[in-house]
Symmetry: C2
Subunit: 456 residues, 2 copies
């Protein structure tokens, strides 16, 4: 297998299997124009969106205008870099000037921001063509991707299955080959979970690396902007555009890295077949068995309690007035979740922040003796759309909690984490999650490329 994602049944899009480097080369050798790329994407959206519901708004005019401008600049020799002329999708909770931004909610049904979010402005400055808004779980408050003003997004691998969320549209758009790049947001796994369930790459950089200015908040101390692409090199390239530093290269040799496996069973019920499949893939890719990071394994209960208290307090603060004045405009499930969020006490939030600090200090110690942690991104079979319960060994488990169980800890602790595709089980993609110490984003993404190249 190649670096390129396995092809989903609904992945007939133009960009399927194409890398940014290939596209950049084609643009510069005039084999294709930015306008053609945009027209391809627009055509694919028209065909696929009725099946996927991945887009909430298609910016036909603006995108064509930007593409023409990109072509003009390139013709003049003004080369803005790897994203120059590339069509990009933006999750519908990230502000885009002049394009409707609904947060997936009737509360913002008709809202059109006047300004771009920082990350969108940065993509535009780099020549990116903002072509569409992608579906989000309402207010990004849910990992299932099937609950919003615009309805559920369908998984390109099987339309009856969840994409996962909340960045459901961005993941489906990239998985279907409709777009090469899309931005998402990730507060508990909202970029990595749909990336895993649709077989693409979802990268959540270190907390604070990508500005959340102009992103509708869910839980401020957990919110991250994330990048969804078809392969890790593309995600690393977009990251380098958004977080430019003097030294972009990072020399990493996977064989020399100290890798540790985080046993996912300790984070709640997981499907043993999926855990085994990811472990086997990793074993093959690394050419060795990985020692377990036992110290992290014991953190589950504490992590999920702390995380719940922080997320609930911060999320309710954002929505308090809306819950009071117009509860009927929320999706019922999101409203119910918000109302429960109101009950956390101030002192519990304070305590949770302190315990988070303690965990962060312990984590620094873990990374003193290892370079990367590895685990599945999601370790249950992809649920059917709208399912809220699934059965494991005859025991009922909650879909939401289980989807989030392996990802949210890295939001709590602000670490960079990426989900890469690691094969299929019964025709549906699996995701392997790599986690690095804070600030080690470039090393993480270089390792992800090597791991995928080796594991294929």
């Amino acid at each position: 297998m190649s670096l390129i994602t396995p092809i989903a049944p609904l992945a007939g899009g133009y960009f399927s299997g194409k890398t940014l480097v290939q596209l950049a080369e084609a643009l510069r050798s005039r084999r294709v124009s930015a306008l053609e790329l945009t027209e391809r994407a627009l055509a694919d959206i028209a065909i696929a969106n009725p099946l996927l519901n991945a887009f909430t708004y298609v910016a036909v005019k603006q995108a064509r205008h930007s593409a023409v401008e990109a072509d003009r600049l390139l013709a003049e020799g003004n080369d803005l870099g790897i994203l120059h002329g590339i069509p990009i999708g933006i999750k519908d909770n990230i502000m885009t000037a002049g394009m409707p931004t609904t947060m997936g909610s009737a509360h913002f049904r008709d809202w059109i921001p006047e300004r771009d979010a920082s990350c969108v402005a940065a993509l535009k400055r780099a020549g990116g063509v903002i072509i569409a808004k992608t579906t989000t779980h309402e207010f990004a408050y849910g990992p299932t991707g099937d609950c919003s003003l615009q309805g559920a997004t369908h998984n390109p691998w099987d339309r009856s299955k969840m994409t996962g969320g909340s960045s459901c549209g961005s993941a489906a758009a990239v998985a279907a080959g409709i777009l090469p790049v899309a931005l998402g947001t990730d507060t508990g796994g909202s970029v990595r979970i749909p990336a895993a369930l649709t077989g693409v790459v979802g990268f959540k950089p270190s907390y604070g690396d990508l500005s959340t200015e102009g992103v509708f908040p869910l839980s401020r101390s957990l919110d991250h902007v994330g990048i969804i692409t078809g392969n890790p090199a593309d995600a690393a390239a977009v990251y380098a555009v958004l977080v430019p530093v003097a030294e972009r290269q990072c020399r990493v040799d996977l064989a020399g890295l100290n890798l540790r496996w985080v046993p996912p069973e300790s984070f709640g019920s997981q499907d043993p077949q999926i855990v085994a499949a990811v472990k086997t893939w990793l074993h093959m890719a690394c050419g060795r068995e990985l020692p377990a990071a036992e110290e992290v394994a014991g953190w589950s209960t504490e992590v999920h309690q702390i995380l719940g208290q922080i997320q609930k307090s911060e999320a309710y603060e954002i929505h308090a007035e809306r819950v009071a004045s117009h509860p009927e405009l929320f999706q019922p499930e999101v409203l119910q979740r918000l109302r429960a969020s109101r009950e956390v006490r101030g002192w519990e939030y304070v305590r949770a922040l302190e315990r988070r600090e303690m965990l962060s200090r312990r984590l620094v110690q873990v990374f003193e003796t290892c370079d990367l942690l590895l685990m599945p991104t999601v370790a249950i079979r992809t649920p059917n759309l709208y399912d809220r319960t699934f059965y494991l060994d005859g025991q009922a488990c909650e879909v939401r909690d289980t989807l989030l169980s392996l990802t949210s800890i890295w939001n709590l602790l602000g670490l960079p984490a990426v989900s890469i595709p690691c094969g299929l089980l019964e025709g549906l993609p699996l995701g392997c999650q790599l986690i690095a110490a804070r600030g080690q984003d470039r090393m993480l993404m270089e390792a992800a490329q090597q791991l995928l190249a080796a594991g294929g």
Copy 2:
């Protein structure tokens, strides 16, 4: 009048009216020894404490030992600076190795810490002689200074009156001339309020300037260590010992500073006679009427709501387990206050933190056009011990809220603030509060000295 505090009826202590510079000079010219200073203080404690209840523990042995050591060092030519050989009192919620530290609570009736708080260790390194622990309102959770395991501290000006709190013992000890210096803590005014009501200087530096490591927390984001002395030069000198920087001198000319009056009436019910007395004193001292800082005046309601939510959440977090397991060990009033503190919601705390940030940004703007804000420290008549209600124009007012109403805002915003004595009304001291922008501590203390010299 001189720089020196007016003398309280119970201010017969040896240190009454003596400055640190005078004491340092006397020590170095061998007119007095450190041991003699300690013996003077011990003798005064023995006489006055039955009347004042300002001390919870007297460290006779340790203090004599330290004083002898200080004399030995000085004789050898090892001069540790202005605090060398000076007896110092430490509030009973600040850890002192080998000395009981009760927090004024039965919960810690028999507790003896093994280590010194950072600030105590720093005083010791500077040659200070830790001589006694001073009474605190239980867990520093109250501004009246009359509710603790050890009972109420009495005001040296009138034993039937409150000293104010929570650093009641430190203020009474300095006001009575028993000690030249005492440390307190200030979370809502706990250094400045008792300083004002006992006619001494209470200085709360910028948030974070003095480490709270080893100080029993009340509300972490509001807690400050503070300094109580007889005059502002001494407080500035102690501050310089605790926060040494290359440039200790700060050239300030009071006449050239832009001073603004904060109308205290906008912060709730105040006694107009006291407001007028402080204003008149300031007018005289400055030689001019001060323009009002109207923008700050409007903040009262918001400030006190934010402050309440932050303090309650943080305070309950500290005490949650004690309230659950041993409620009977609290003073009933403190227990009641803690139980009410439990009710704040997580989202309200989060909102309060954000509103605090907004206020802080607005305050930066206020200080762009002014150097110092001035207002009374406390603008009601000193309440009788144990009173919880007083009457103003026939209207019942809460003692606690009113005592805190002019000071707590500067904890919320982390600004340096100092209370200096500004005369008497009906035989009881009044306090004038000076507030500067964050980090302007040295300018503030220099201005305080000049103002007191001018106002007398």
